[in-house]
């Protein structure tokens, strides 16, 4: 099982994203990229405002699930490349915590492939998020 780097300490910076894009410019068979970015929202929950989310994960199981997701994504879709990055630790409101990057010869399949990867990561990868409010109280994030 080849392990790819997925987890990033803190927020995923716009510069990290542009470097990932730049790395794909030498691949001249790629015609279409699709990128999903998850950004931390300053949600208001019963009068408290989310200031940051602190992410943690069960890394051994996460790696295994991410490997399975990679395998089945390449089986289902005709892709040139696929990358997944997710933050661990503190990510402030407005910062990016989740980055899925799918590339293909043609545009047709990229949208669906991105949606598939995003959904699989949310459902199957053991990641946990503590929503920290401005008053320093917190609650645990639940995916809807």
């Amino acid at each position: 099982m080849k392990k790819k780097k997925v987890f990033i300490k803190g927020a995923i910076s716009p510069e990290f994203i542009s470097e990932s894009i730049a790395k794909h410019q030498s691949k001249h068979s790629i015609g279409a990229h699709n990128i999903f970015l998850g950004q931390v929202r300053a949600d208001e929950i019963s009068d408290r405002t989310v200031e940051a989310i602190e992410y943690s994960c069960y890394e051994e199981l996460a790696d295994k699930k991410l490997f399975e997701i990679r395998e089945s994504t390449f089986e289902k879709f005709d892709l040139t490349c696929m990358h997944i990055y997710h933050s661990l630790g503190l990510v402030k409101a407005g910062e990016i915590c989740f980055f899925v990057f799918v590339s293909s010869k043609r545009r047709k399949e990229v949208y669906e492939a991105t949606e598939y990867v995003v959904n699989r990561v949310k459902e199957d990868v053991p990641i946990f998020g503590k929503e920290i409010f401005k008053d320093q109280s917190h609650q645990w994030k639940v995916n809807s």
């Binding site: 992410y55 997710h86 053991p126 639940v142």
Partner: protein, 81 residues
């Protein structure tokens, strides 16, 4: 018996029981009985939870045997993204 089992807790569950990891000598080699033991110790039933044994997700009603050095994980619902 008395196999040593590593138990890992995550997220809201780890916070509530104030424990991220512990090793216990299981009184039985049956996983359900081990989980019942943990339930009694920590009142885990108040949480929705997902169980993984040696990095494999399992269903609690499966009749599973545990052995020395197994790693059991008690996980709250996933919230990535």
């Amino acid at each position: 018996m008395n196999d040593m089992i590593t138990i890992k807790y995550f997220g809201e569950i780890a916070e509530a029981i104030n424990c991220k990891e512990e090793q216990i000598a299981a009184k039985s080699d049956n996983l359900s009985e081990l989980i019942e033991e943990l339930n009694e110790k920590y009142n885990l039933k108040r949480f929705p939870m997902i169980i993984a044994l040696n990095q494999n997700r399992i269903e609690l009603n499966d009749d599973i045997t545990i052995k020395n050095n197994d790693e059991l994980a008690i996980l709250p619902p996933f919230a990535g993204g």
